[in-house]
Each structure stands twice: as C-alpha cells, then as structure tokens.
Symmetry: C2
Subunit: 360 residues, 2 copies
C-alpha cells in the first residue's frame, strides 16, 4: 500500500520528507557508522543534534534570550504533575481555566500539589466556547495561570490570551508551530511532541528563566527539576535521543517550508476549507463557537448517527485514516496538523461530499 | 562509512537486523501506509505491537502469571523516584545495597520518599566487590530491598541474589535478557531500554501483582502509578510507541538467536575472551573482584595513563567506537551487550594487542 492521509490526533502524521531522511540515516548517521539511536547522548554527534534542535526551535518561534528550552520525558500528562511540582513551590495556589477534557485532566493533577483556583470555565456550554477573559476569577498571588489554548478532543482553540500579571502556563501540545505566537507573553509553554513535532515520549518546554528558581531540588524527583534540566541541557539522565533527532528533522522541514508564518497561512486555508464544507453541507456539523474553532482538530458529527460506522469504514478504505473522534465523545475528528498537506484536506472533503450524495 | 563496532554503554548498539527491519518499515508498517510513529496508540495495529512485545518478553524471561509487564516513560533515573513513590506507601523504610554509582543515585532519590536503610556497601573497597550477603543489615519491616545487580560504570555484576523475605527490587537496565534469571525471586525488575532492549525513553517494569496495591493513586502523579499503568496496559497517556516497537523487534531477534540461554552462552564467551586478554597483557588491567566482573560492561585502564587519548583516537579510527570510560571515572570501558557480536570483541582484542605492541 502507498502512504495514506492520516488524520490521527496523535501520535500524528509526520512529513514524508522527514521520514525519508530518517530512513536513509537509520543505520548510519552522517557516515558515522551508527544509528542516532545507538549514540551516547554525550557524544559530539548527539550534542550537535541537540544544539541544532534548540537553535531551529529558537528561530522558528523567535524565542527571546530570557527563555530556556528544556526537553522532558513522558507526555503532556506527565507535565500536568511536573509543572505544579516545580512552579507552586512558595505559593499557595495556581489558577486554571477549564475549557475541556485536557484542562480538566491538568486541574485534577494540579490538585495533588496545590490549591486550584478555577479562573473560568465553559463547562456550562459543554465546552463549545472560551471563557470571557474580562470576567476571570484570578488570584493575583497564585503561582501561575494555566491554559489549554487548544483542546484536542473538543476542537476548541483560543484566539488570544488573557491579560494578567501571572505567568501564563500553556499546553500547546496540539498548536505549537502551527501559528505565530509571542513567546514573551508566556511563563511556560509545554508541548508533547506527538502532534506537530515528532514521535511520542518527549515534551518540549520553553520556560522563562526567572521561573527556574522555583524548583525545589531537595524535594523534586531529580529528573523533574526544570532548574536542573536547564542547567544540564536536558541531560540529567539519558534523554529520548531518537525523538529529539526526529524533532530536529521536523524543524528543518518547517524552516524549508518558510517557517511558522507560512505554515499558519496554509493551516488557516486548510481549516477554512474543511469548516466551510461542514457548514455548507447540512449533513455534517460542528458545535463549536465559530470564533474559537480549532485549526488543528476538527470534530464533526453526521446528521444521522447510525451512518458513523459506515463513514469510518469507507473513509479508511479510501485511504483517509483515523477519522474516529476520541473514544470519550465519539463522532468524527480530522486532525490537520502541519504535516497534513492541503491535498489531504481536499481529499477528505471530496470523500465527505461523495458520502453525503450516497447516503444523505 | 560502513557500520562500526559500537561499545557505547548506552544508548547502545542495536542488532543490525533490527535496524534494517525498522528501516524497511519506517514509512509503511505492514502495508498500512503509515509509520509506527504515526499510529494512534489505541489503534488495532499498535495494540497488536504492544501485545506482541509483552508476549515475547514473557516467553524470553519465563515471566510467571502473577507478574505484570508495565512500560514506564523516562529512564531508570525516573524509576529511582517512581519506585519508592509507589512502593513505600504504608512502610517506614526501604533497604538499599550500595555497590557503585547507580545504586548511590537510587539511594539519593529514595531518601526523598522514605527512610533508607543501608543494607550493605562496598564503598570501602571502592566498589570493586559485592557485599557479603550473610552480613546484610536488613530491616524486616522495610518496603523492599533494592539492588543494582550490574553497575554499568564500575563494571560490577552480582553472581546471585541475597536470601530475604523482602521483595527484591532490582535495576537490571544493563543485564536484562543477557543472562537467565528466575523472575519469581524478584518483587520488581526494572530496566531502561537503551542498553539491551531498544532506544532511550522507555523503561520495562516486571512487577509482582500483589505489589500493585501499594500505589496511592490519590497522591501519586497519575502517569506514575504502577497500579494504574497495569490496569491501563501502560496507556494512561500516550506511551513511547516507537521505542516499544523497537523493543518488540529486538525481542523477535532474540528469539531467533535461541533466546536468553543462547545469548548468555555467547555473552560468557565474549566476556571471558576480553577479560583474559586484559589479564594476560600486563599492559591493561581491570580492578574488579574476578567473581563479580560484569559480563556487560568491561572497564579497563592502561598501565601508562598518558596513552589513553591515543588509545581512544586510534581505536575510533579502527572502527571501534565509544571506548571511553564514564566521564566520572575516566579510563576505558567496553560495553558488550547482546547486540555486540563476538567478532566485535575479537576485533577489539586484536586492536588492544596491536596497540600494546606499538606502545607497550
């Protein structure tokens, strides 16, 4: 079989050019006679890969000098604990916005470490919108304000950030590098790799340097200390070297595509095409406030729920893979991250329209 | 350049046949049109890989029914914290043996969670031997007894296990699958993958089921709970899917080699050859009590320390990679895990003898 269009929410599709390069280098990286997987993390070769990964990310996101890039192990769910474990030291509370399944999980985990102040929630509208920023319940003495600017399951994406003096901590797992951001507005950005960056197992953290001093190294698990991770260039122990290498290849590919601004332009176009097709159909629908629809994760349902299984079976057969919604909500979901070419979105729309003709 | 003989202590060499298979499947696993890296961890395809990985490991180590295999994220250093965080719940102490750099790190981390009882130490002989098991200081009410049966840096390996009623918790990162073991003698075996199993970022845990009840899920980071990891088939969040897939390929390769008994036979032969060459030279030496020399990690020094740099430079040029000792101790170290063929050990010995002739 040839390559398919893969709409998985994560682990998600990677650019084909990246996989081809990784494949070519898999047994022999740059003539060194070993795979990247087989290199000491402290070797000159891997250190050059790590440095390149950080330099490319710094360029792609215009990361200011007063930020550190730290690679942590696990996934964003690990960071749901690691972040309050580091950043609430010396504080009595942390503020959280509740905008869907992932912020709910982050809140549950934070409660193990601190008092969680619910700064705002859209649970009452079934998470179809973003809280009104002018009415947030902010504790000005809190350790930080946590946001989930893109809810991968719900398909909800913030259009901007609240104004606050609190450091903003944001889970950008599913939006990092898909749109331009102003890093200086954040205290900590974190992102599990397996959506827009690379394989699962590594989490990118971009942290304002003054926050590093909060880490209580006496009490924290050693490998969790942001301060020590920063001090040791993410190598308190062996980092997930192959995942970092793949991230470097993805960043290289992004630079060749014209960087984040160019990706954002395509991502807007892809999302507009797909939401228009949904809205104009009368057969498919998406419940999210149009101002806050995610550009990355597009959930939709069929007017006739009983056709869902047929839709999923036939789309799979048409080379459109993993269109099922999250198991907690059902329905359909098309995740259209950076690696999804516009041709894939057009193929999906063609399929949706043909399916509607057959069954609508 | 062609493939070299890679003596790195970790991330270590992988079997060439495994890398070749991973390379062939990198863009299209079993005709599915996607890479394993791009598959949902909950897809039928990845679930089949996970099941295969566990089934092969169960066969290779004869794991009894009252044990669970759990894949954790991070490295063994993560488990240095995760283990006491799970297993000391309801206990006042844990016993640790101190036999080198890695047990020292495990002890330091455990002190954040419990009272550490030093059951035995060979620090007074610079960790060149294993404590006399008949004189251990064991607290019979402790949560467990922790051992590091192979010290990767020191090159020290236990010949057997102490007799105790405490559950034995053992860091087998550098020996797992290199020799036959009786799993039923352990409470918990853990092993970072990047030596004998696969790429860095995943840790194999083989845990006796009765110990799962110790996890305090209210307090533990969700992704750290052994009980929940076991209940959720290691998928509380997205696991490091590609690393698990590589482990499956390595296990498949091990089965094709005849399993652990066959590997142990070759490993004994490799280690005997190398230690004999060292002992018979008068030019190279290894300080470890001969009863406890590691079969996996063979450190050695030159009679004339000033020749070390030359040795490392010339060995690298001869296609013998990463023979430097750990940065904390210097000297040389040859790590000869399962993936190192006997030809690699013979090539190293040939080089060592030629080097001795030139400079000795």
């Amino acid at each position: 079989m040839s390559r398919v269009y893969n709409f998985c929410s994560g682990p998600a599709a990677l650019p084909e050019a990246v996989l081809e390069k990784a494949q070519a280098e898999l047994l022999d990286w740059h003539g060194k006679g070993v795979s990247v997987m087989e290199m000491s993390h402290r070797s000159e070769e891997f250190m050059s890969i790590l440095a390149s990964t950080k330099a490319r990310l710094t360029r792609l996101l215009n990361i200011p000098d007063n930020y550190e890039i730290v690679f942590a192990q696990g996934g964003a769910s690990t960071l749901f604990a690691q972040i309050p474990a580091n950043l609430t030291n010396g504080f009595d509370s942390a503020c959280y916005l509740d905008t869907g399944a992932w912020s709910t999980k982050a809140i549950k985990e934070a409660k193990k470490y601190t008092n969680v102040v619910l700064a705002g929630s859209t649970k009452d509208v079934n998470y179809t919108s973003v809280p009104d920023f002018s009415t947030l319940n902010l504790d000005e003495k809190a350790a930080y304000l946590h946001l989930t600017p893109n809810e991968t399951i719900g398909g909800l994406e913030f259009a901007d950030l609240p104004e606050t003096n609190l450091p903003i901590v944001a889970d950008l797992s599913s939006t990092i590098l898909s749109r331009e951001i102003d890093v200086s507005k954040y205290g900590l950005i974190y992102a599990g790799a397996q959506k827009n960056v690379g394989p699962a197992g590594v989490v990118i953290n971009i942290i304002r340097k003054d926050l590093l001093a909060r880490s209580n190294n006496e009490a924290l698990p050693s490998v969790w200390s942001f301060e020590n991770l920063a001090k040791n260039d993410s190598m308190i122990n062996t980092p997930p070297t192959f995942a970092i290498y793949l991230a470097d290849l993805v960043f290289e590919w992004l630079e060749a595509q014209g960087g984040v601004a160019a990706m954002e332009k395509i991502n807007v176009e892809k999302a507009d095409l797909l939401y228009s097709a949904i809205d104009n159909s009368g057969f498919y629908s998406n419940p999210i406030d149009v101002r806050y629809r995610s550009r990355m994760n597009v959930p939709f349902v069929l007017a006739d729920e009983s056709l869902e299984k047929t839709f999923l079976k036939e789309s799979e057969e048409a080379g459109l893979r993993t269109l099922a919604g999250h198991r907690s909500v059902g329905g359909m979901r098309a995740s259209i991250y950076n690696a999804m070419p516009i041709e894939g979105v057009k193929a999906l729309i063609d399929f949706m329209q043909a399916f509607e003709k057959r069954y609508g």
